[in-house]
């Protein structure tokens, strides 16, 4: 949503315009549910968290000062509620959780001094595959499933940065982490995702 359109919506919201509120709910509900799902055990709980978020938005609107975008403000409320709820209800940890703190690429794929080698088993080529081959329901499902398996801090950072498109400073503020820490988490998450996509799309065994 453009800043101009959003500003106009906020004006109408503050004037009690129900149609504007409906528009906002329809625009943001889907991505709020998706984000909430990365904090809490189930989609049902995620939907509850999102409803609680909307109620908090309604109550909080009189105090919304427009220092951030409406979406950032709403998402911030959601993350706080979701984190609290997620802490209370233990997420089912999948059996095969990725440890996610090793090297970004299997060291066996390089030769030379440890940590400083050249590719001996280079990346299988897939970056130039046409969109139809890459952008598909299957690929999206693979990425979503893999994000689910990441350690929670990596999962939250990659959801906010890459799935939702938040800026680095906003993510750091929201999660209460440093930029350096955020980059490390993002790096680990993205390395896993790239590896998984290479396996699927590059035809690696």
């Amino acid at each position: 949503m453009s800043p101009a359109r959003e500003n106009a919506l906020v004006d109408r919201l503050c004037a009690g315009d129900g149609a504007a509120f409906t528009e906002v709910v329809r625009a943001y509900n889907g991505s709020l549910v998706r984000l909430a799902s990365s904090f809490v055990p189930s989609r049902a709980v995620a939907e509850e968290v999102v409803q609680e978020t909307w109620m908090a938005v309604i109550k909080g609107l009189p105090r919304f000062e427009r220092r951030s975008t409406l979406k950032t403000w709403i998402t911030g409320i959601l993350v706080n509620i979701a984190k609290t709820r997620g802490a209370k209800e233990r997420r089912t940890v999948p059996l095969a959780t990725l440890a996610g703190d090793g090297p970004s690429v299997d060291p066996d794929r390089f030769s030379g001094p440890p940590g400083h080698g050249a590719w001996s088993d280079p990346p299988a080529h897939w970056s130039d595959l046409p969109a139809e081959a890459v952008v598909s329901a299957e690929t999206f499902a693979l990425v979503e499933e893999t994000v689910e398996l990441l350690p929670e801090n990596q999962r939250w950072v990659v959801m906010l940065r890459d799935v939702e498109g938040w800026s680095s400073p906003d993510v750091c503020d929201l999660l209460g982490i440093s930029e350096a820490n955020q980059r490390v988490l993002l790096h680990r998450a993205r390395s896993v995702l790239r590896g998984v996509l290479e396996q699927r799309l590059g035809g690696r065994a």
């Binding site: 509120f21 709910v25 409803q51 609107l61 970004s104 050249a118 080529h125 990425v143």
Partner: protein, 86 residues
């Protein structure tokens, strides 16, 4: 690993790629990386894959359907905040 580098090799590059894309590396290191990428098709492919990965991750569609009864319930709550209070 120090971030101030004059030469970069492949196994180092795969750990620097996020800093590279974030623009947080010292200029000398950026130049060392660009020199390496010019001569290494594998690391160039790795960067392209990372960019494509980010693009795919950012394209995942959301479920756009919002149940009508949820809208109705929320609208009622919204309406109870009298316009005067907003």
């Amino acid at each position: 690993m120090s971030l101030f580098r004059t030469t970069i090799i492949c196994q180092e590059w795969v750990e620097l790629v996020t800093d590279y894309l974030e623009g947080t590396l010292p200029r000398r290191t950026m130049r060392a990386i660009d020199r390496h990428l010019r001569g290494c098709p594998h690391c160039t492919e790795y960067l392209a894959q990372m960019r494509r990965t980010i693009e795919i991750t950012g394209s995942i569609p959301t479920d756009q359907d919002v149940p009508d009864e949820l809208i109705e319930r929320l609208l009622r709550a919204f309406g109870e905040q009298l316009p005067g209070e907003l």
